[in-house]
Subunit: 247 residues, 2 copies
């Protein structure tokens, strides 16, 4: 990974190339603009289409900006906001990334008939049951959020054999049920806490919450989980990068 591309690596060439270019940009090798695509392709002995795929990745990450007819601009050497989190991660992974020990207090875990909103979000037929799992999630000793998850019961028949005060829901879905969660639609909204939430999350007065709710889909395109997460406002900073669409 010192600037050489391994043709028989498990990583595709364009990903290796992306990483190389990223570290070169961060090292200050290219300051305001990048060399042309043709020159870069020649330099790294790859086809121009492979090079272009690497640049497309960098652009998606917001590191460079390409425009037709112009040299491509170098924008960022690193993310402006630290809490960059526009990636689908389980709470467990999020905590591990921050070096905190994740665990949960389970408040509710049972089979119920869902209300209409949950039914619609999970594309369920009337009468189909869901599993509801309500937890306060902790990192080390600090409460991070209050989460409610709904899953179609038919997808997770023997789920009550797991202890979700310790286990990761997403990990169980993958390892035990073979369900890969790959995409989520999320909606953010600021809300005031209820009295119950003030207590559960140990909130100071006048602290608003960030409500994040949405649907998570498996690799087969099936809606697997409808969730609602409430975070302490001062701990909940979500950042994204957005682009102007041309077409």
């Amino acid at each position: 990974m010192k600037g050489f591309i391994l043709r028989d690596s498990v990583l595709p060439v364009y990903i290796q190339l992306k990483n190389i270019l990223k570290s070169e940009i961060q090292a200050g090798l290219y300051d305001v603009t990048l060399p042309s695509e043709r020159k870069l392709a020649e330099k790294y002995h790859v086809n121009i289409h492979t090079l272009r795929k690497a640049l497309a990745e960098l652009e998606r990450e917001g590191m460079i900006i390409k425009r037709r007819g112009q040299v491509t601009a170098v924008v960022l050497k690193e993310a402006t906001f630290r809490d960059y989190a526009s990636e689908l991660l389980s709470f467990t992974e999020e905590m591990q990334r921050r070096g905190l020990k994740p665990w949960s207090r389970v408040l509710q875990f049972e089979r119920i008939l869902p209300d209409l909103e949950v039914q619609r979000m999970l594309s369920l037929n009337p009468g189909e049951e869901v599993v509801v799992l309500k937890r306060v999630r902790y990192g080390n000793d600090k409460p991070f959020n209050l989460g409610i998850s709904f899953l179609p019961y038919k997808l997770v028949p023997d789920i009550f054999s797991f202890d979700f005060s310790q286990e990761s829901l997403h990990y169980v879905l993958r390892s035990h049920y073979g369900i890969d969660l790959v995409m989520a639609e999320e909606l953010f909204e600021p809300v005031m806490p209820t009295l119950e939430e003030v207590e559960l999350l140990n909130l100071p007065p006048m602290m608003p919450l960030m409500l994040m709710k949405g649907v998570i889909y498996s690799s087969k395109g099936i809606p697997v989980e409808y969730f609602s997460l409430k975070f302490r406002g001062d701990e909940a900073r979500f950042s994204v990068r957005v682009f102007r669409n041309s077409y």
Copy 2:
């Protein structure tokens, strides 16, 4: 646009193809899975790489999910959340899209020396001045948000000749200064309003705000605007789609 691809359209083939496939999916032509890439390419008489580019667009929009070795899954016929807004749009464009008349009340518009945060976000040298523009933005008669923008003065020398109670800042930047805004880093956080904000936005009691702040970059990769927007909580629903990264 009835299912035929025009080879001499201004729109690239892969965009036309994306639109065709989208409308076919929404019409229910493909229900759970799509035909294979080879078959689709043959059906529309395009090269498989062009077809793949169209599918990549649909996947980015969250409409389908592709996995190696599997047929590609159809996920959504339409967005689950209506307020889908992960696109860089000016307030004026946002209002026009909703059919509302945008205008502003300008509260502050002057040259100042920025504080350290603004200086850092805009990559300014000490002593460089910025223009600050503080406005309450309205759609028809309703206040939508309170916005503060900071721009490097050197980029917009004669900006005080414009009246930003009517004009769109982003439009002036593009048409008068030739500055194309193409990318933004944004951060979201729930906050409680100050007394001033309660009054300016005509807020009911205990209504939290969504704070959205960030930096907007031009096509040359230059940070052009640092902004802070505060929205009424019940009017501020931001939605995104996130994916699991493989590499």
